[in-house]
Each structure stands twice: as C-alpha cells, then as structure tokens.
Symmetry: C2
C-alpha cells in the first residue's frame, strides 16, 4: 500500500499517447498492492490502472502474468485486462521501470468476511483454474514446496527471536512436508495469493465481481490454491476456524471443478504447506523490513496458529466436507 | 500522502446510502492530501472524493471549509463541491471521524512548473479572491503573523540543531515582521496553501482546471496568498528565483484583480512572512514527526533560502513588476 515511484504529469501524458485510450484527464496514486506502484488513470474514455513493477517482481516473469490476464479475460473471467499500445505491446517501460496499463475493475474487497463471500470465492477460484488449463506459458512456483527450505535457511537464525522454539517447529514441519508432499495431484495455473484484498465483490452480492493482482500466479497443485484460500478466508480474527466458511468455499469450488478423493485427502497437508509458506515469507519480511519502510510487515505469528490448527486435522471432514 | 483510517466496504455502503448519489461500485484509498485520509469513491453515477478529517484539522473549522467550497462552486470556480446528504447535511461522521463527500475534479498537479502554469495560477487565484469577497463566515489565519511567535517558541530550542544560527535568524526576522506587517492591505478569503499539489491542469493547457484542499483557507491579506504562491511556484529546484514565473503570476492576477500600489510595495515583506510561516511549520514538523510516521516531513532548509532571498529584495521590481 504505497507509491514507490513518482510519475510526473508530463511522463504520464507521453506514456498514454502510446495507446489508443484517449487523453489523460486525471492520475492518482492509489493505496493498493504491496509490491508495486499503482495509479488510477482516468482518460476521457474510461478509468484504467497503471502499474509500475517494483524490484520484488522479476521482470522475466511479467510476460507470464500479463499473458495470463489476457488469457483469463478472453475466457470471460473478470480480471484486469492488459491494454496493448498502438504497436501491440502491453509491457512497456515508464520512469525506468517495467509498466503496464490494465482495465479498471469495479467492486470492493470485503473487510469482514461472511460465509457467502467464501462461496463466491470458491466458484471464482474454480473458474480461474478451469480457464487457466489451456494457458501455454509455464512458470514454476518460487514460493512452492521446493522454495521453502532456502527461504527458511535465510532467516532461521532469527526465528526464535520472533517466538521461542519457532526454528525447531519449522524445521520439523519442513522435513514432514518435503517427505509427504502430494506431487501427483492435478496441477495448473493458480493465483496463489487469493487474499480478500485481491478479490472484489459488490456490496450485498454473493458473486465475485473481479480478481486482481496476479503477480504471484504460477503453476502448482490446483488444490493448493484452495488451501491458501482456506487460511486467508476461513479463520476468524481470534484464530478460530470457521467450518461453515470452509464448507462454502470447498463445495462451491466443487460444483464447478469437482475435487478428486485424492485432492480432498490431501487438503490437510496442503493447508499445512500453505501455512508454512506464508509463515516463512512473513518471517522473512518481519526480519528484513527496515524500520522506516513505507509498508509495515505483517506479523508471522498468525500463520503459526494456522499451521498448528492444520497439524491437528486428520481428514477433510474437519473442513466441512466428507471424503467420498 | 497516506491512508490513516481504514473504512470497510460495509461502512462505506451504509454511508453512501445517506446520499442520493447512486450505489458504490468502487472505493480506493488515494495518495493525496497530507493531513486527511482521502478515498476515490465511484458510484454508478459518478466519481467522488470521500475525505475523513484527521486530527490536525479542527472540526470547528469544517463548516467554514465546506461552506467556502459550496460558495466558490456556486460562483463557478472549479473546486470540490461538497455533496449534501438526503437530509441536506454535508458534514457527517464515518468511522469516528468527521467526513464529507465532494465532487471529483479532473486534472493533474504539474510536477515541473513552467511559466505558463504560473500565469494560469495567477488568474485562478484572483478569481478565487474575487469570488470569496461575499462569503459570510470568518476564520482567522491560525498560521498568520500572530501565530508565528507561539509556533517559534514551541520549537526554538531545536532550531540550531537543524542549522547553526537559525534560532537567532528567526527571532530577528520575527521582530521585524511583527513591527512592520502591513495590516491595512485589502483582506478576504485566501486559500493559503496554493502549492502545485493543490492546483490541477490538463496536460498542455494553460488554464487551471481545478483547485483542491481548502483546509488551510482563512481570512487574511489577499496579496499574502500571492506571496505564498511565489514561494511555492517561482523558485527553481536549485533555489534560484525565476522572475519570468513571478511576472506571469502577478500580471495574470492583476488582470482579474488589479493590485494596488500599496500591495505591490508590500510584496517583499509579505514574501518574507510567507517564507517564515512555512519555515516555522516545517521546522515544527521536522522536530516533532516520529521516525516511523507514514508521512516524511519536508525539509525546512528550503524556506531558509527563500527567506534570505526576499530579505535582499527592496521592491516588487525584483518580482518582475514595476511599482506604478
């Protein structure tokens, strides 16, 4: 939630002239997106989002992200559509950074998650997974099971300072997940960051109105995306698990893309993996974010609690579904 | 440039229901306004700005600010127009804070000031002063000549830490300004914060498309507003004074509201006062802003240089105009 790069009125007018989207009439930095700088760009034709990709996004991966949004939009998903310049190019440069203009999505992130939001999320996630099946670029998950150990090694010496015993807890969990990870499950394009910030609804409506921020999207197990969603949407602020929300999420997903018995059986371990992934990245950010940074790092402890919850789960029935 | 208060999707939907402006379809925090929290609010009718007034704005002064914007809008000035609820009330409360919705102004703040911007600014400032003449609420200038000494007393002990000798420099200047301030000049409503951030243009056009942020507006000497503008718009990044920009500012102003000989003669002392005012408030913020604040305080040294420049000026001819 920050504007890392200043763009002048002259720069933006010159940049917009490379598109066939009218003349810029307003241009404001918005507090959206932790990794990149986002501007709301109004032209005399429509509102757009201009994103400048900051250093945490690998420029080599941008063709995957923009291509994926193009692909999903063409399949009818409500996600930002990259706008191509008059030369056909969507990924350009502005103020020394990779930059792209995308369509503007209406809707709002829900703050207080209700069970009906989780049902809408399940449907949208299954639609995304289905629409992504024939996308032809491959990008591995940098924050998948293979990425966790190097991440852990880079910050393990500080773990016990965050919570006593955390270093050993992570090490044991990592050993378990690496030994038991269900690599054989259906895979494809996942969003990998479907937190409420990235999912829009219209007030009082059940259906998702749009999904944004595809900059962690990658190829991985489809059900792993659901595990990330469970962690992000189905725990209450007091860390208790809301099984109604989980059931809504999983059953709505299953109506669009039925989950196999293997996927259901693997949900507890996938949820442990999803907990460890965000525990590790939050731990890393917690340790490495300078005190004067524009963005306040998120507390990793929330994900210790989620990991402990899933460690005690032995079947998907704990998530409100029975394994048939 | 910060979002100090989080507003949920449910809060905003309830709040907007008190107006006849349609249903909210999008709602984003924007990086605009240092003192308040601003959101871009899109309804199915139009875009609006929602402002939550944070603690640096005195709630007692809000009827002046909102009434002034209403008044100036009704006179045809392009400034945010307060939107009244269905009960007729414009100033409401949201998330425990005073809050108001205003119209959305197109246009962009110029980053690299060109002489033509200063001409447009002069015209807009004179129009604002003229339109404000029959506004019937009075609000004294908390940052006017009478406010400088208490501000100085509150931070004088830290002044020399910012620049050696600064405490004495300010004290001597303050004595001079209090003894020689031209209280007899034409007075009225001034904006008092016409920095480029608060003045919008369309790219490549000379006329001001809109003026925002009236939360320092007050009653004071009209020509003092111009002195603030000269400091904010007519110095180059290397601190040199651009006399072409000043001439454009003052001569365009004079075509709408002619400056009297007394006002012209007083410009150097008004400009010294305008320099001291921002030197003092920046000094205060520099000393009192916590290191982890969302907003980085502006360096006060810039205004030491401006003050020194105006101390060496003995007539308005230094600003590109002759005293007739």
């Amino acid at each position: 939630m920050a504007v890392y790069t200043d763009v002048s009125d002259e720069d933006i007018a010159r940049f917009v002239a490379e598109y066939d989207i009218g003349n810029v009439i307003s241009f404001k930095g918005i507090a959206e997106g932790v990794e990149n700088t986002n501007f709301l760009l109004q032209t005399d034709q429509a509102p757009f989002i201009l994103t400048l990709y900051e250093k945490r996004v690998n420029p080599d991966d941008l063709p995957f992200y923009l291509g994926l949004m193009d692909h999903l939009s063409s399949k009818g998903l409500n996600c930002p559509t990259p706008i191509h310049g008059t030369d056909g190019v969507a990924l350009r440069r502005l103020c020394g950074r990779p930059a792209a203009i995308t369509s503007f999505l209406n809707g709002m992130s829900p703050r207080r998650i209700q069970p009906h939001h989780c049902a809408g999320l399940g449907t949208a996630t299954a639609q995304l997974h289905t629409a992504g099946q024939d996308f032809d670029i491959y990008l591995g998950n940098a924050f998948g099971v293979k990425g966790w150990r190097p991440l852990f090694e880079s910050c393990r010496s500080d773990a016990n300072g965050v919570q006593p015993g955390l270093e050993q807890m992570i090490e044991v969990e990592l050993d378990f997940l690496e030994a038991n990870w269900p690599h054989h499950l259906p895979a494809g394009v996942i969003h990998a960051d479907l937190f409420p910030d990235n999912v829009f609804f219209f007030p009082g409506q059940d259906d998702v109105s749009g999904v944004i921020d595809f900059y962690f999207a990658c190829n991985d197990l489809l059900a792993y995306d659901l595990a990330i969603c469970m962690n992000a949407w189905c725990f209450e602020p007091d860390n208790s698990f809301n099984v109604t929300k989980a059931r809504n999420l999983l059953s709505s997903y299953g109506k669009v893309r039925p989950l196999s018995g293997d996927e259901l059986a693997a949900l507890p371990i996938l949820a442990r993996g999803a907990s460890l992934r965000f525990l590790l990245t939050r731990l890393y950010d917690w340790i490495n974010t300078p005190k004067d940074a524009l963005v306040t790092p998120k507390n990793p402890r929330e994900y210790i609690n989620k990991l402990r919850f899933h460690q005690r789960v032995d079947s998907a029935s704990a998530y409100g579904l029975s394994e048939e």
